[in-house]
């Protein structure tokens, strides 16, 4: 003879009990809901950050690396990089014949400056001095005109290629190509306009004026350390490229084998590592807050279940008299607390998803939610209900049926 009570029956009992105290059920679910919503929103924003960061890495060119004087993000003793010698375009020239695994070696440097054109002014936009390889190495394409030629880069002609936003800002009507703009007071002829790339976090790669490296150094000085982008040939791994670049740079810099490098090779994935460090801490703190909220919600559920057990003492006595085993009563109450908690988790998931959507709409963060996280939220809150239901359920099951039947 089977004494197993089917799940359908338990579900029916749970729903009936929860419906009988609607207000109480709703208030209980709110607690757990807030916890789940918080956790989901945090996870969503972080996933969004990750996604936009990955996208940014792609835009930087994931198949390349950058030689610079110091790391792109310096945490801690930044001053140790201060006395390193600058990188110059000559280093790039010296490097180029040494690198067999590189497709492109592109020096670039940038500053901020004003670009004007009778009546229209863009203040403090990015001004980049570079060579013809820049277009490819940064993953830009042309919208109009052409990019800088090798000849222009050598001959120090005052020509510029404008980013999409820079072009539309200066030339609201008509084409920018062939027109003249002033960059920090100097006149430049616009030879091309870059296709829009789209904003990456706070950086706008479309608000830029690109000029030849030689002209840049004439106008803005030579004291600036440059950055050398190295793009791998097809089929060359970043590791083997980095090995080659490291050896070549040491030769160019004439370093003894015992000397430390006085330059830095940045890989986009190193950037990712730094990023992970930063978001990891954020995630831990936010996760902790969400966890505590769930804990508070769980205690709320435990409290309500204890009240429920007390109120339904007679019911428990009746069920026990009619043949319910202790375990059956435990399962009934666990089912109930898991159900109310999972329902709260569901509501919280909906709210959390909604807030993630809002974050995505009103902020530059591309917050996203993996549907698995949603299911995880519901399952997890159900588990919280299960855990916090254990004590009340055990109390219910351990009631003496005789006493319980007499309970008023």
């Amino acid at each position: 003879m089977s004494f197993k009570v089917d799940a359908g029956e338990n579900a029916r009992i749970a729903i009936q009990a929860l419906r009988a105290n609607r207000m109480r059920t709703v208030l209980t679910t709110v607690g757990i809901g807030i916890g789940v919503a918080t956790l989901l929103a945090i996870v969503g924003v972080i996933q969004g950050l990750n996604a936009s960061f990955a996208e940014q890495l792609n835009k930087l060119g994931a198949n390349g690396l950058y030689v610079s004087r110091s790391p792109s993000i310096v945490i801690g003793d930044w001053w140790k990089y201060r006395n390193r010698p600058d990188l110059t375009p000559e280093h790039a020239e010296a490097l180029r014949p040494l690198l067999t695994r590189a497709e492109l070696v592109v020096p670039s440097t940038s500053t901020r400056g004003d670009v004007t054109r009778e009546g229209n002014e863009l203040t403090s936009i990015s001004i980049t001095g570079t060579e013809e390889g820049y277009l490819l190495s940064r993953g830009y394409t042309m919208a109009a005109g052409r990019f800088l030629t090798a000849g222009e880069a050598q001959s120090n002609q005052r020509v510029t290629v404008l980013g999409a936003d820079a072009a539309s800002g200066l030339f609201p009507v008509g084409s920018a190509v062939g027109q003249t703009v002033k960059i920090e007071g100097q006149s430049y002829r616009v030879v091309g306009v870059l296709a829009a790339k789209g904003k990456v976090l706070t950086e706008n790669p479309d608000l830029v004026a690109v000029i030849p490296m030689g002209v840049f150094r004439q106008q803005f000085g030579t004291f600036r350390s440059i950055q050398i982008g190295v793009i791998a040939k097809e089929g060359v791994s970043l590791d083997s490229l980095e090995d080659e670049v490291l050896g070549a740079m040491r030769r160019v810099r004439r370093l003894d084998p015992t000397e430390d490098e006085n330059f830095n090779i940045n890989r986009p994935e190193m950037l990712a590592k730094t990023y992970d460090q930063l978001t990891g801490a954020l995630f831990a703190v936010a996760g902790g807050i969400g966890f505590i909220t769930l804990l508070v919600g769980g205690i709320g559920i435990m409290n309500i279940m204890l009240v429920s057990v007390r109120e339904r003492t007679r019911e428990i006595g009746i069920r026990r008299a009619l043949g319910a085993r202790r375990r059956t009563i435990v399962i009934q109450f666990l089912f109930e607390s898991a159900a109310v908690s999972a329902f709260g988790g569901f509501l919280g998931a909906v709210v959390g998803l909604g807030s993630v959507r809002i974050v995505a709409e009103i902020s530059p963060l591309a917050a996203v939610v993996d549907p698995m996280v949603l299911i995880g939220g519901i399952v997890f809150s159900g588990l919280v209900g299960l855990i916090f239901g254990i004590w009340p359920a055990a109390r219910a099951a351990n009631l003496d049926p005789i006493e319980a039947l007499r309970h008023e």
Binding site: F3, I318, R319, L322, G323, R325, P401, L405
Partner: protein, 237 residues
């Protein structure tokens, strides 16, 4: 023999004092009998009823129900035997207030692990036996006291137990409604059910074919209901 109680004792610790609720009780009940257990409050009849109902076990002695030795059973086994062998009818009906009559009657079958469809059919049949099939979708608070007790009787019958155990079944009913329930019991007795009725009312016990009178935890009389239900008049008056 359906019920065989042999020298059963039960004592409680109340506030450091030992209360001997049952002091060696022995009797037997055969299948198909209708027997009252009558006694005043504090006589031990409630303790006896709890033991007969497998809600409690004796400290010593033996209780055999339908061939099972209940005295040595653990909690799970007691729950199972209550489900299979006993149909309870309580003074306060003990129906689940939020459930319909039908769901209340189905409950023992739920704990027996019977499927929903068969449960429903058997519950409807049981409600028909007590003449309440037209009230099966009503909740207890929509029923009169007599109807509630009929639902409780249907619930006691539904799992086809070997023993119907009624505890003051008319205690919360007016006399006319109580009479209806007694008639129902007469019908059940005529249909071959075994009934044990626990009461403090000698007039009710007197209507049973057999009565056992209990005083101070001991059986003082056991015989035809009308003869032993009333305590003997004190001598000297």
């Amino acid at each position: 023999m359906l019920i065989s109680v042999e020298n059963v004792t039960r004592k409680y610790e109340v506030g450091g004092e030992t209360v001997h609720a049952l002091r060696g009780v022995s009797f037997q009940v055969s299948k198909g009998e209708w027997c009252a257990i009558v006694g005043q409050s504090g006589s031990g009849k409630s303790t006896l009823m709890n033991i007969l109902g497998c809600l409690d076990t004796p400290n010593s002695g033996r209780y055999m129900l339908n061939g099972h030795d209940v005295s040595q059973m653990d909690d799970d086994a007691l729950a199972d035997i209550r489900n299979r062998e006993i149909g309870f009818i309580f003074q306060t009906f003990q129906l689940l207030p939020r459930e319909t009559s039908l769901a209340n009657v189905e409950l023992p079958l739920v704990y027996r692990g019977i499927g929903a469809k068969e449960r429903r059919e058997r519950a409807i049949a049981a409600l028909q036996k007590v003449g309440l099939e037209h009230r099966m979708h009503h909740r207890p608070n929509e029923l009169s006291g007599g109807q509630r007790q009929r639902v409780a009787v249907a619930r006691a019958l539904v799992a086809e137990p070997s023993l119907l155990l009624a505890d003051e079944p008319t205690g919360n009913l007016d006399s006319a409604t109580g009479e209806e329930i007694i008639h129902l019991f007469e019908e059940l007795h005529a249909a071959g059910h075994t009934l044990v009725l626990v009461t403090h009312e000698p007039s009710l016990a007197a209507r049973c074919p057999r009565a056992i009178r209990i005083t101070d935890g001991q059986i003082v009389a056991d015989g035809v209901g009308s003869e032993v239900a009333f305590p003997p008049a004190p001598t000297g008056t």
